[in-house]
Symmetry: D2
Subunit: 450 residues, 4 copies
């Protein structure tokens, strides 16, 4: 480790910048939480490759509290599917505080799985099975997200259980509307246990990174949940994760996030990073003051705002004329046609729908007037998703129907196996190893039998 210490340096710098902040109060509604060391402050970041970086008290244990909610929601979604889970708990920001009582008029559904009422329902949805009681399933799931075996802080659990009347009220209230399928007391007890699971800031960063990485733990390589579930959880975190300051958080920090009253805080940059902070001094909304400040600064520093700094386009598409490609085009009867009428479109990088549309548009623009044949150069394409492939196939099929001939330079078969390409495009698309060969072929086509 040497070059990448530069990443750690940044974490350390931000840690230093906010360590002196003395605002906020530790949670006091649970006696055990009030005993946290106010000065503890840890930051952690985990990449999609599983590289982990930390600063400060990144290894100090504390309890998950509400940070458990998105992960148990993921477990419920995995067990039951979005439609079934949505029958019991909504996905709307409520505009209210974490412990608000308002349930959806008519159905009694809690607004979302990030407020206590919804989290209790979510926990209640995790089934007891012959293999494992519900809490065992939850602990196993949380451990897989963290990449190590987690355990329960029994002191905190006992403290929560002793002071949890409001949550019991919520559970009874929800069941009274028919929107809780199980015993309220048991559901709340399981919920208290899940809140008391012990983690570190580094654990949290791995957990967040697993969501950002489409459900695969980037450290252990284990698939914990499906890409669909990971995306669903991130979406709900984006609108509801920070309670009644979720809108402001997305506006200013720009990442799906979740805070807990023990001082833990996570944020996820989809396909980029998992971030976490730990500092028990909370603001009025129950979010870690230093954590909020540090993750906001990290997002700003690293350009992670979902709306402000979208990932740079992973592809470039270049429209070139043969003249550029073939500076030393063969002299002879075809040379003029080659130079003027044969188009060349070169794509680089990874192709998604956005890139595929660019490619098709470039194909249309290429060639002379009237447009002649075109060469599509895919040598520097590093990958293409199914959406991009479908669109490319459809576009090439269109070209063929319009009588415009095309040739591809695709030694890596980025367009898919020839059989598939034939089926999708309705033709045997000529393939070449170099642009020169392809262009020459096209020029001959153009020149015709003469």
């Amino acid at each position: 480790m040497s070059a990448s210490e530069a990443v750690t340096d940044t974490l350390r710098e931000l840690h230093g910048r906010f360590a002196g902040v003395r605002e906020g109060q530790p949670a006091d509604y649970i006696p055990e939480l009030a005993r946290a060391v106010s000065d503890d402050f840890g930051l952690a970041l985990v990449s999609m490759d599983g590289h982990a970086y930390g600063a400060g008290a990144a290894d100090t244990p504390f309890t998950l509290q509400s940070v458990s909610k998105p992960f148990v929601y993921a477990l419920a979604l995995t067990a039951l599917g979005l439609d079934e889970v949505t029958r019991w708990v909504g996905a709307e920001p409520s505009g209210e505080a974490f412990n608000a009582i308002s349930l959806e008029h008519g159905t009694g559904r809690p607004a979302n799985a990030m407020v206590n009422a919804g989290a209790i329902v979510t926990t209640a949805l995790v089934p007891d099975t012959r293999e494992a009681p519900a809490f065992q399933s939850i602990l196993t799931c949380l451990s897989r997200f963290a990449g190590r075996k987690l355990d329960v802080d029994e002191g905190v659990y006992g403290s929560e259980a002793a002071t949890g009347d409001r949550n019991r009220a919520l559970a009874y209230l929800i069941r009274s509307t028919g929107a809780l399928p199980v015993d309220p007391v048991a559901a709340v007890d399981t919920y208290f246990r899940q809140c008391a699971v012990r983690v570190t800031a580094l654990d949290l960063a791995v957990m967040a990174a697993t969501l950002a990485h489409g459900g695969v733990n980037p450290v252990t390589g284990e698939r914990v949940v499906s890409p669909e579930v990971a995306a669903q959880v991130l979406a709900v975190m984006a609108t509801c994760g920070m309670y009644d300051s979720s809108g402001d958080w997305l506006l200013r920090v720009g990442l799906p996030a979740k805070s807990g009253v023990s001082g833990g805080l996570i944020a996820a940059g989809p396909a980029r990073f998992g971030l976490a902070a730990y500092s028990p001094l909370l603001d009025a909304a129950g979010t870690s003051v230093r954590g909020h400040a540090a993750l906001a600064a990290l997002s700003e520093r690293f350009g992670l705002h979902l709306m402000r700094n979208p990932a740079l386009p992973g592809s470039t598409v270049t429209l070139v004329t043969t003249a550029d490609v073939l500076p030393s085009a063969p002299s002879g009867p075809h040379s003029r046609a080659l130079r003027e009428r044969v188009g060349v479109v070169a794509a680089q990088g990874a192709l998604d729908f956005t890139a595929a549309e660019r490619v098709l548009h470039a194909l249309d623009e290429s060639g002379g007037e009237p447009p002649g044949p075109v060469v599509l150069d895919l040598r520097e394409v590093t990958g293409a998703d199914s959406v991009a492939l479908s669109l490319l196939h459809a576009g090439l099929s269109r070209l063929a129907r319009d009588g415009r001939s095309a040739a591809v330079v695709d030694p890596g078969d980025r367009l898919g196996p020839p059989d598939l390409v034939r089926e999708r495009t309705g033709q045997d698309l000529p393939r070449f190893g170099s642009v020169e060969e392809a262009a020459e072929h096209c020029a001959q086509t153009l020149a015709g039998p003469g």
Copy 2:
């Protein structure tokens, strides 16, 4: 146009799939709106390159209504900045309907600029200036977003003005709390005018694309608002744009969006697309039924969900050994060292923080034990943002301090001009035109004077 007709084909297919939907009712609270042709249904998509695609009634005019809100919000943010605008209107989802009356306890601020109360405040924030009265500024701004001169449907405006008591009530209520800086009657009148501005689905797609494109109209090339403002508007649309179904929309469709009671609907894929639909049949929440269905299907089909299909990584980073790079390494005294001790890291594509972290990590991993010199090959890098550059410079600086020598292959000066690199890394980083030369240089370094 031929290959790219494949994009239009997809729009047409979705148009056909949902054209038969007969659910919903046209808005009836404004008499003039109730006269809309229920069967009208248009779809439009505009790319970051300004390519426009449409299907169905994409050119049929209708009035903006609430779709005007994000754009006037953008104008207010431009005029006053986020902090000043936030003094008057929040950015939190309210969990309530579009015409809800609840204002923030204590301040009287409307929850956000997407509900009527907040939109009226936003409109009121647009200053009357000597050059232009407020509404003129708004119409000019909306026109720049659309890329053409828009006008007002006076019939709809008159109808709104005649039935706008609830909005007048909101305006008076807000001013009574001190949270409206101007005359309520005038503010509401301007608001009614902005709602009555006439557009088409294609216009809306261009307007959405302008937000997605960081504030630059991709058709006209004009910068309408700053990248920061565009991102701020998109973030608020993501949490608040679809009123009390914003959470569900982000969960299932995954894009910042805004609907209007005339049947217009926009969605923006940051750095990807602007989407729009028009169909006057509304659901209970006031959103176009067909529009909702079609944009959801478009997002699904084109893989645009912000959380589900993040843009493919724009870069690849490869850690290779010299053996791979230099299959025909010169024999001689350095050959063994070259093969075993000189690392080579090759990056391709566009570099952001995510990619830069990968590069640094790869540098650390490269080389033998103990790690020897390393070659960083940037020939296929297509660009790097400032965050990535900073991190690369810091990492290389770290390497140097740790006594590990490095060389770069960077004919395009992707690392920045030599002076800057020297200042940032604290060394004269040797630069070469090919990996072979760089590796050879490193091997000699390693071999030392001997």
Copy 3:
């Protein structure tokens, strides 16, 4: 005036007890009101005979503000009737503050006529007629309640009009639901004028006494509203008059009441008194602090609590045997029967349903076994209402059907004219001037032809 100075003495004593209270603040939301002299403190009491008593600043002028609401409500009820008024404004306590915005779900009706929203609607219901614009009708009505020509404090009116955005908002909001039949701006303007009508504490006590006196001004003798309307207004004052402390007020003070932000406060003891206080120092609910304390003490001192000290029964009913009535009963053949078998029931005072039931029950209990004839002595009855008469007639009719003879001593025709009695009781009820004669007649009946 000398003996009745004892009443004034009590007012003076309570005035002295509370004059030193310094808690509370003058209303400051209307600049003009903030200029009130904080030390002003007046008390007044007016009896059903129109006797007026005052202490302190009972003649100091101030503006009605919300104390106008019950009286304009009375005017609207008179003009339109309860059912029509109830279509536009409810009669339910809202559990909310005076300026709350909540309107009835579905109808948009304000909860009641004592909160601002409902008062604005009430004012709007007063029709403009050819003879008088609405405000002229209101001012005339208020003047009749007060028994003198009242006028408007133009300074306060101007101040209200300049700061009345919240009320304008309410008016627009109500009209937007269809629950306001007129122009909001005009309605609110009239409402501001009515609030600015100038009165003294003595005026207020006369106004309250008019409601307590069944709608007849006890000083001028003029009928201002019907007994039904007076009762309706008092009932709404009882549940809603003190806003969100109406329940506590009725619990502790026990009288229908209404407060205003200028420091005026009225309470009405039905059929007993009108009370009023004036002191501009208000509590958090907007009620005069000294006024509240003084009226509560007056109610306690004078035993006016509706539930605690109901008016002493206005009647006594005595069941006596002839032996008591006729100590010197004539000797002879009937003496024994007279003494043992003829019952005598004597009633005194005013008879209502309660008393009539007692009379009937006593008739049943009277006489020997088997029960013989009965004498009903009504000489000391001072009056009987129609309910009591109906019940007495029905009971005497029942007696006759059961074959029990009765005679009445009713020189004042308290039972009604003989024709009516005959029609109602189905018999020619024998009437006598003295109990002795009646008893003798009965005894003879009993003795039979022998």
Copy 4:
């Protein structure tokens, strides 16, 4: 029973009028309640003398449900006093339904003891003592109100307990705010038991009559609660007893009342009657449809509206001149003075503050100019409360200080024992047996030594 059958006739007539009403539904949220016989319909009325009248199913047993609330509130007030009870439960109408969840902001207090939340708290306030567990105390109290030993319908109790999640939620919620001093589960269980106590309509009328009768059961003569507590309970019933239609009920029916979901309904006319109805068909607010109609008609028929038909004044005060009293005044030197200068004031009936004020005023008006001595004739006064006595004493004292002589005709010592009168009035008030003697005495006083 014969004459008083006329009362029963009226009940029977109203019973017949409303027995055909088929609107409403039996409560279905408790399975056991849904089994009630829909056609059951009983009416009952009990007078302050304990006379009981019934019609229809007045003896059919059903469970108290919410009708238990005012009586347990009375028990809690008796045990702890109003101030302590008010610390835990308010007395404000909430404007909300019976099972609303809203608790007072800041304190967590339920709004009042008539909604479920407040009733649970009230029940929880009844202490367990060594002599009796809380529920035993409650059952004993309810039995004393009814005048017979009541018992629990175990089937209904079991059904409530099985479906009472919402009430359990309320209990936990209240305790979570600190506003419930005991175990929520136990409190709710006791509450369910109290709701399941079995009564008849006649029982309910006795219970209501006990409240109307100042806390003394008019049938058994037992004092159940103090007059203060009875009045407090009636006041809270008046503003909160009919949930969110309490205002309308007081407006139209005019009596403190309470309904229960089993179909029971009580109303109390202070110092007049207890009324009750039973019919299980409920309206949307949970009140018996026929019961509501019948009690409203009873109030109308019998003139019981608190505001509309206040008890007739229990007294008359007559101002007469000596000329009227002494038609055959002795001729002689004093005759002219007697006729012109000696006033006579005669009072009849029961004297309260209202009457006493009239007496004092009449004393001031009496006599000539300048006013001479005055005779106060109290022979026909049937009683006077302490407020009236104090005022009479004070007024007579005032007269004496102003040098005006007075004499009383008070053979029954209505003014109190001579010692007390001397102390209070500061004089030896001359007392006489007849007006003539008193007037003669006064005339001599006037004539002076000459």
